[in-house]
């Protein structure tokens, strides 16, 4: 188990190197520098700016020095916000995005697992069709549509909840969390239904039934552990998706998180910002994939043996 974790961590290093190199090359091959938009800048000022950000050096030299900085955890200064570093902007935005992602994940897990288990208990009946159709609706209702519609109904017409902001007015975190979580709730519902159906047809469940255990005891004590493995394996990718999804949700609800910074820096051609945040996101996603794999391993003894056999 520990060897597996270390192995996977070591594998993450080349992945990160690829991410850094590709992102660096892509960003530096982009037409138009970050300062080319400001027409008023005289050539000597532009040269001074380029010197300040080391843009006058050959590319490989910039790459090496950037790599050195990144390894020590320094993403450099922001091009767009003079005097602020990428680290500061990430430190400001990340807690907000992480909190949003956490709430959204809670929404997704509670609704998703609930609906999936209920549906799996009586497959191909109304108890199955209704939650699963709702799940399909959730998958087909993208966040950039669901968000505005929720705002329109609950924020503007009913005036139950605030329509934007983050942590300013009580209740302003409700709509963003639901908007971001719904799509994942739908996926999780389908995954947990599938997983539960698979497990419920196994012999040990039949044994449990034959022993006369109550249905709720069978579900909670015996079936959930195995049935939720697909869900656990999905958590890593889901987290990656939540980060991407936060672009839209943070834009809609004007939340000062990383997603909004990222889109803004994409528009502003804030090179160091894009670079730094891409690397930051990639690291996070790799870590979360690893965590969700380890958790799935912990839940499934069969997989554990395979992992031991292959390493």
């Amino acid at each position: 188990m520990i060897r597996f974790a270390i192995n996977r961590l070591l594998q993450a290093i080349p992945v990160l190197l690829v991410v850094i190199s590709v992102t660096f090359l892509l960003v530096h091959s982009a037409p138009g520098g970050p300062f080319s938009a400001d027409k008023a800048v005289p050539p000597e000022v532009a040269r001074a700016l380029e010197a300040q950000y080391q843009l006058d050096q050959p590319l490989w030299q910039q790459y090496i020095s950037y790599l050195g900085d990144v390894i020590t955890g320094d993403f450099g200064p922001s091009f767009k916000y003079p005097g602020r570093t990428v680290n500061e902007l990430i430190a400001a935005g990340f807690p907000v995005t992480a909190e949003l992602a956490l709430y959204a994940m809670l929404v997704a897990l509670v609704i998703g697992i609930g609906a999936g288990v209920v549906a799996a208990m009586r497959p191909n009946t109304m108890q199955d069709y209704i939650p699963m159709s709702a799940a399909m609706l959730g998958i087909c209702m993208p966040s950039f549509l669901l968000g505005p519609i929720l705002v329109l109904i609950f924020g503007i017409h009913l005036e139950w909840v605030p329509i934007s902001g983050w942590g300013d007015i009580p209740g302003d975190k409700i709509l963003p969390a639901i908007t971001l979580g719904t799509g994942y709730a739908a996926y999780i519902a389908r995954l947990s239904r599938g997983g539960m159906l698979e497990v419920l047809s196994q012999d040990y469940i039949r044994t449990a039934r034959a022993k006369g255990l109550s249905e709720s005891l069978i579900i909670t004590k015996h079936a959930l552990r195995g049935g939720l493995i697909p869900v656990v394996a999905f958590l890593g990718p889901a987290f990656a998706g939540l980060l991407g999804g936060s672009f839209v949700v943070e834009t809609i609800f004007q939340i000062p998180g990383l997603g909004r910074f990222y889109v803004a820096s994409a528009f502003n051609r804030d090179y160091t910002m894009i670079l730094g945040m891409t690397i930051f996101f990639a690291t996070l996603i790799i870590l979360f994939n690893l965590l969700s794999d380890l958790l799935a391993l912990q839940l499934n003894p069969k997989l554990r043996q395979q992992a031991r056999g292959s390493h």
């Binding site: 892509l26 399909m136 549509l145 519609i149 889109v263 996603i285």
Partner: protein, 291 residues
């Protein structure tokens, strides 16, 4: 096992079987019909659209649905039905072309890895693993920023991230098939490699590929809409459903129909395609039907 051994004897029975199963699935049929109607409307849009794409009526401004404009008009007095029809052309085109890109790369990659096996396979799948670990949404945003927002690049960028799962599916299928008795039997009967590929491997891989293709189209369309919504996808004067939703959000308090209609169109389309994909999976790929 059962499905595959059937198809070795009678080529068409798998497909006939699948069609019979699909026909019983009303939701999937609804999805199939919706897809056909959508494609037909998109192809015919220049001839059947009630108004011109750029036709403005500034005096009219934004109006709710009426007899003249079934889905209302936007703030420039442009007919929403017309704009949704033209937007659908772009959305569907992105869906099909990007999926085709993903399909070609994914099948080639997966099939080669599965056939050759050994070191080549390990290396190729390691590359897939690495790409899987990349934050692809972020990667697409990056690509769109770096290379400018052009529609061709959008196809390539989306296709380039969607092929990974296809490669895994095809490889898994090919690997599983290679080990089955009926393939071994075919070898022992002296069939050539190509004959085995053509007669046994391709037909048996096609099912999951078709299923996954059907499911990729809606996710690609969603991705396009997502990017267009952020302003990083389709650029005006071209239009897509994502872009229309983006405009609709800006004025949703005053003119909610500008958000509702493109939104409902997009959702219904995704709904139909997903149901078709699910139905096809049940029909063509009985083993995977549980997921």
């Amino acid at each position: 096992m059962e499905a595959s051994s059937q198809s070795t004897e009678q080529h068409s029975s798998l497909w006939l079987d699948a069609w019979l199963k699909l026909r019983k699935n009303r939701l999937a049929l609804f999805g199939f019909a919706a897809l056909i109607i959508l494609c037909a409307v998109s192809l015919l849009t220049p001839w059947i659209a009630p108004y011109g794409y750029e036709q403005q009526d500034l005096m009219l401004g934004a109006t709710p649905p009426s007899l003249e404009h079934w889905l209302g008009t936007d703030i420039f007095g442009r007919d929403m039905l017309t704009r949704i029809m033209y937007g659908g052309r772009v959305s569907l085109m992105v869906g099909f072309i990007a999926t085709a890109v993903a399909l070609v790369i994914g099948i080639l990659w997966g099939a080669i890895a599965g056939f050759v096996g050994g070191r080549v396979d390990a290396l190729m799948m390691r590359i897939v693993d690495i790409l899987y670990a990349l934050p692809f949404m972020i990667f697409i945003v990056l690509l769109m920023v770096v290379f400018g927002r052009n529609i061709l690049l959008l196809f390539v960028a989306i296709g380039a991230v969607e092929w990974l799962t296809m490669a895994r599916i095809v490889r898994g299928q090919v690997m599983a098939l290679r080990k089955q008795e009926f393939i071994e039997a075919a070898y022992s009967m002296g069939l050539s490699q190509w004959a085995i590929i053509r007669r046994h491997i391709i037909p048996n891989t096609l099912g999951p590929v078709i299923v996954y293709t059907t499911l990729t189209i809606p996710s690609v369309m969603l991705l396009e809409a997502f990017l267009s919504f952020l302003g990083l996808g389709i650029q005006p004067p071209q239009s897509s459903w994502g872009l229309l939703i983006n405009y609709g959000v800006e004025t949703m308090e005053e003119y909610p129909w500008l958000l509702i209609f493109p939104g409902v169109t997009l959702s219904l389309t995704l709904f139909a395609l997903n149901f078709l994909g699910d139905g096809l999976r049940d029909a063509l790929d009985p083993r995977a039907a549980k997921d």
